[in-house]
């Protein structure tokens, strides 16, 4: 199928065929994302999707109006969270729209299934929009190749398999839609496309915090065009409409609000808006003035802009008009060397990307994307340059944070598709032509509205025809190798999808010693136990990773969750885990904690457990409570024989290793960390309430405050 598609990429062919191929690509994009459902079940994955799912359930049950006003008092106990105003609601809005639409049409589908299949549906949508965008920048053939590639590129697949109900799954679609419509509006200069672009941008702002990337890329691109002398009234229309409408739309999202005006992340768009007005005026003025006068005026204006800009910027910054807390994450993105905040860097997907991970996520596109850049630069159209700008910037950001490879993937795909399409055009032509009568009129290969940057050798005389047999052989070999690469890409992508990216991570397969596989479903066992056998008002404390899941699956009040908005609160929970029992007791009681939950992998060898995360807990809590929690007291966070006393007495250690020894009472053996440091100890403040089948989740109940002793009772009597 892919091979077919590549062949089709070589020339003009009927629209219907292109549509049919695109349809097949959509089916491929949808179905290759269903591994998780087939291997496991139709279930929401991982951590954040559980919050989105819970939010969607709320939106569907209570309506969107209620959703905006939703103050959730069962999270961040006792603070609560105003969910409606601290969330990018695009995903929930989309899901509830699909849900309501289907119900109106007479399909009473479950909301869970809407959420699970959201990502595959948008995977197909993304393939379509990738086609149009590449077609816009290059041609139909490249568009189809790009659509085929994006339908299975692991970098995008990682965030869009069925069940991965996260903002990114719709955000990439929204991102590409905004880019496509912006390209279109720059090319046509039509208000219609610019308007559509603003709406697409609005959708993107609703969907994902990554909209900041667009907010900066479009001004950067516009600025680049102006510098390159490619300013045109079309660009003016496109930018000004996007800027004004887009910023207004931006402010309609409660979570963004007025920060679209004063936040430093939006400053570039304001500045370029100003600059483009100046450029437009200067263009106009140039028609009136003579060259010398114009140059003087230009010099004056440039200097005054720089001067005013510097002074104004400094004043605004010192007054505090620009800036804000949300920019810290943005600065970490700009400067890879900057000191990272522990709470951000404790998340593995916020680590810098390594070369293997690039190769894993993008495969041969790592090599072909630069070739695509080369072709785009050669063609030198506004649209092709946009692709270049998108590709270069996203490559930079993806190097800083692994998760941003996701943003780079479509750019890499489109650039590679152009490279593949170009090389196919070149070599297939060489081959075709050698077989054809040399006199026959060469086919029109490209509708190309601009100059065609690709030059290929065409045999035009009998002497050249001889050399073309060599060319033909070369061409055949080259085509063969490109096809081979594409084939390995398909194999790699499907393997990566099925093996690496289709795990719900809420339930997992584990190889047994006897070759049999067994399902580890401990998380749901624990959450379900909490849901069924604890007081509905119970407060559950765990490390923030499990907050969303506890809220969604156990339906109980949590203290901290994956929306890490309050560092102090997280540090407090970290302090509980890092303290001795007696020191933790007052905190437990003050925060009304009824149950403590830890994830322990020592029995089955599950590596992302709380002992391995413990270093981060200590790091974060020592940042807030430097006097109570001292990182150096924990040694190397070893839980084995060389563990420090502080480690052995910490709540975390005790909760993980309480009564973890072999049935005959011998020293416990942690599958991952070897013999445990301290074996037999009691608990005074807490007691074991439940431990799941494979010990992966352990729940402790905080004992009731002991009765006041008779002596104290006497002293309190008057």
């Amino acid at each position: 199928l892919t091979v077919c598609r590549q062949v089709m990429g070589s020339g003009a062919f009927p629209q219907v065929l292109a549509a049919a191929i695109l349809g097949l690509i959509c089916v491929l994009a949808f179905s290759s994302r269903l591994f998780a459902v087939v291997k496991y079940e139709s279930v929401i994955h991982e951590f954040d999707p559980y919050f989105n799912f819970r939010g969607t359930q709320y939106a569907v049950e209570h309506g969107l109006g209620e959703f905006w006003n939703w103050f959730d008092d069962t999270v961040w106990y006792p603070l609560g969270r105003h969910v409606g105003h601290t969330v990018y609601p695009g995903l929930m809005v989309t899901a509830s729209a699909i849900y309501n639409g289907l119900h109106k049409l007479g399909f009473p589908i479950e909301i869970r299934n809407v959420c699970v299949f959201m990502a595959p549906i948008f995977g197909a949508n993304t393939a379509i929009i990738t086609f149009f965008m590449t077609k816009e920048a290059w041609d139909t053939g490249a568009g189809l190749v790009a659509a085929a590639l994006i339908s299975m590129v692991p970098g995008y697949m990682s965030r869009s398999v069925a069940g991965s109900y996260d903002n990114e799954c719709i955000a990439i679609f929204a991102l590409l839609l905004t880019f496509f419509t912006f390209m279109k509006s720059v090319k046509t200069g039509s208000l219609k496309w610019a308007g559509i672009c603003s709406v697409a941008y609005f959708y993107m702002v609703m969907a994902w915090g990554g909209y900041i990337y667009i907010t900066n890329l479009i001004p950067a691109y516009t600025y680049g065009l102006i510098i390159l002398g490619r300013y045109s009234p079309r660009l003016w229309v496109a930018y000004c409409v996007w800027y004004t409408l887009g910023s207004l739309f931006c402010m309609q999202v409660p979570f963004v609000g007025l920060s679209a005006m004063y936040n430093s992340t939006h400053m570039a768009s304001h500045a370029v808006f100003f600059l483009i007005q100046v450029t437009a005026i200067m263009r106009f003025v140039r028609g009136i003035l003579n060259a010398a006068e114009y140059r003087r005026l230009l010099k004056f204006i440039v200097l005054s802009i720089i001067g005013l800009g510097a002074v104004g910027g400094a004043v605004a910054f010192s007054v505090g008009y620009i800036g804000g807390a949300t920019t810290t994450r943005f600065y970490t993105l700009l400067d890879p060397q900057s000191d990272k905040i522990p709470i951000i860097s404790s998340v593995s997907e916020h680590q810098p990307s390594s070369w293997p991970s690039y190769f894993f996520d993008l495969h041969f596109m790592m090599l072909l994307a630069p070739v695509g850049v080369h072709f785009c630069v050669k063609r030198w159209t506004d649209s092709a340059l946009f692709l270049v700008a998108y590709g270069m910037t996203s490559a930079y950001f993806s190097a800083i944070m692994i998760r941003l490879v996701l943003v780079m993937a479509p750019a890499a795909v489109m650039l590679s598709a152009i490279a593949i399409s170009c090389s196919f055009n070149t070599f297939f032509v060489a081959r075709d032509e050698s077989l054809l009568d040399a006199k026959r009129k060469p086919k029109e290969f490209r509708k190309g509205e601009d100059d065609d940057g690709v030059d290929y050798d065409r045999p035009s005389s009998p002497t050249q025809a001889l050399s073309s047999t060599v060319n033909s052989l070369m061409a055949l070999i080259t085509v063969f190798f490109v096809l081979l690469i594409l084939l390995t890409f398909v194999v790699h992508s499907i393997w990566a999808t099925s093996q690496a990216y289709s795990n719900p991570s809420i339930v997992m397969w584990a190889g047994g010693g006897n070759g049999r596989q067994r399902l580890l479903d401990d998380f749901r066992e624990a959450y379900r136990w909490l849901n069924q056998n604890t007081d509905p008002d119970a407060k559950i404390a765990s490390w923030w990773d499990y907050g969303y899941q506890t809220s969604a699956m156990a339906g109980r009040t949590t203290l901290v969750d994956n929306n890490t908005w309050n560092n102090t609160h997280i540090a407090t929970v970290g302090r509980v885990m890092a303290s001795m029992e007696d020191n933790a007791a007052p905190i437990l009681r003050r925060l009304d904690i009824d149950y403590l939950l830890v994830v322990f992998g020592g029995y089955v060898g599950y590596s992302s457990d709380d002992i391995n995360k413990f270093a981060w807990m200590v790091k974060i809590s020592s940042g807030v409570y430097p006097k109570s929690v001292k990182e150096e007291n924990f040694g190397h966070f070893s839980a084995g024989q060389d563990a420090t006393p502080t480690m052995l007495n910490s709540m975390m250690y005790k909760m993980c290793y309480y009564r973890f020894h072999s049935p005959d009472g011998r020293r416990g053996y942690d599958v991952m960390r070897g013999p445990v440091g301290r074996n037999k100890f009691g608990l005074s403040v807490i007691e074991e309430a439940f431990t799941t089948e494979h010990w992966m989740t352990r729940i402790y109940k905080v004992r009731k405050d002991p009765n006041r002793s008779p002596i104290n009772a006497v002293t309190y009597q008057i």
Partner: protein, 467 residues
């Protein structure tokens, strides 16, 4: 203990009242011989009395009564009676029965005999009574590794308006560990049974306390709530889904839970799984709860509802291991479902009506269902619906359910019931309704027309705007 004392006083009172009316003969019937077998080997008490009933009166007797002491009738879940070899008799509660000498609060049950007993003749009748909630944990709380001890009270004698000439009582227990029993004298405890010395000439309405305190680690889970949905699709499937709320009603767990101890010593009173016995034709079985699939279920073919030896090729047993073991006081909610081929459950009556038949009780083995709701969802367009449960017209609530592509909604009938024991309850629900096969094609036609309209519209739009 106090309870023995108070029971004894009550018993004495009752005995006095009973002796007062001893010489009154009711209808001339006499229980010539009664053999009572009390089976308390699970959390359900089953009392089987085999009675040789003699008619000492002048006329033929075609019915007789038995009774339950005050307070016992609410625990009665099912009553069966058979005469001779397999002639099942109808047992009905008779609130209006005015039998002289009846103690206050007693409930009477009338049994209609298949073949009347002529004067001076006798017949053999077997009565089986199924009680729920009669076996209760004592002590009420235990730790994880303790065995569960339960206590059971009953009348030592067959509670009958007629005098009994000869009576024997035996009790089958769940284990041979007996903490205590009353009356102690005349009782012979061996293995897991208690056998009493035969009684002779027992007066009518005799009441004497029987108490057994013994170890019973059998599953004490009951379905506090069961919601069954039975949906008919005339394309060929009967879809059944059952949502349970299971509660462990045994001795409550006290003190900490320990996974280590559970792995070392086990937890005798905990319940890890329940099993459903389904027809072998059941397909597409699933077992879930609101947070997803529960991946620990197992299907065994050819198992019957009874003991291990009772192999029935027409049945399969679905063993559903819950997410977590249930201890006393713990609960869990789950649902499971399956499809049955419609041809095995559907007939067409002589009058041309469709007749759907399915079992009334839960297919779970040894399960007490405290509250049950059944939603019967018939296909869109079904009319003239009658529903019979156990041969009698059932009361139901009528509503509609909207499913895929429905326009008017599917007629839905909701039945409710309480205190049902499976497998003892073998009632069937019979639903009869009219349905025209034309309604079957309504939805495919709707879809076809819908798509046709979309294509025509897009063609028109294309012509108008792009030509």
């Amino acid at each position: 203990g106090l309870w023995v004392g108070s029971a004894r006083i009550m018993m004495t009172k009752l005995f006095l009242i009973c002796s007062l009316y001893f010489f009154c003969v009711f209808g001339g019937l006499v229980n010539k011989k009664v053999a009572r077998e009390i089976d308390i080997s699970s959390n359900i008490a089953r009392v089987t009395s085999t009675i040789t009933l003699q008619n000492d009166g002048s006329g033929a007797a075609n019915e007789f009564y038995f009774a339950l002491p005050a307070g016992n009738s609410t625990r009665l879940s099912a009553a069966f009676a058979t005469q001779g070899d397999d002639d099942s008799l109808s047992v009905t509660e008779d609130a209006s029965a005015k039998l002289s000498g009846a103690p206050a609060g007693a409930t009477f049950y009338k049994v209609k005999l298949q073949t009347a007993i002529a004067a001076g003749e006798d017949t053999e009748v077997e009565i089986e009574l199924v009680f729920t909630g009669a076996i209760n944990p004592f002590p009420r709380t235990i730790t994880q590794k303790d065995n569960q001890l339960v206590i059971f009270y009953d009348n030592l004698h067959f509670f009958s308006p007629y005098p009994t000439t000869e009576e024997s009582v035996s009790v089958t227990l769940a284990s041979s560990t007996v903490e205590g029993n009353y009356p102690k004298e005349d009782a012979e405890v061996s293995e897991s049974t208690i056998k009493y010395k035969d009684f002779e000439n027992v007066a009518a309405y005799s009441f004497e306390l029987l108490m057994v305190h013994y170890q019973n680690n059998k599953p004490f889970v009951v379905a506090e709530n069961l919601h069954r949905t039975v949906q008919v699709s005339h394309w060929g499937a009967l879809q059944i889904e059952e949502a349970y709320k299971l509660v462990h009603t045994g001795a409550k767990l006290t003190g900490p839970f320990s996974r280590l101890d559970m792995m070392r010593f086990g937890a005798p009173s905990s319940v890890a799984d329940v099993s459903a016995v389904l027809p072998a034709a059941a397909s597409e079985i699933y077992f879930r709860d609101v947070i997803g699939n529960i991946s620990s279920s197992e299907i065994k073919a050819g198992k019957g509802s009874g003991s291990e030896d009772d192999v029935d090729e027409d049945k399969i047993e679905v063993k559903m291991t819950q997410r977590f073991p249930l201890f006393g006081g713990w609960q869990t909610e789950f649902y499971y479902g399956y499809n049955l081929a419609l041809e095995n459950n559907m007939n067409i009556t002589d009058s041309g009506k469709y007749q759907l038949t399915f079992p009334f009780a839960s297919p779970l083995k040894e399960m007490v269902t405290q509250e049950m709701t059944i939603d019967i969802i018939l296909p869109e367009g079904a009319s003239d619906v009658t529903i019979n449960v156990a041969g009698a017209a059932a009361k139901f609530l009528q509503s509609t359910t909207l499913s895929n592509l429905d326009t008017a909604g599917r007629p839905t009938f909701t039945l409710t019931a309480s205190n049902i024991v499976s497998p003892d309850n073998d009632d069937v629900v019979v639903v009869e309704y009219n349905f025209s096969s034309g309604s079957l094609y309504q939805e495919p036609i709707l879809l076809t027309v819908g798509f046709f309209c979309i294509f025509v519209t897009s063609m028109v739009v294309n012509w108008m705007f792009f030509q």
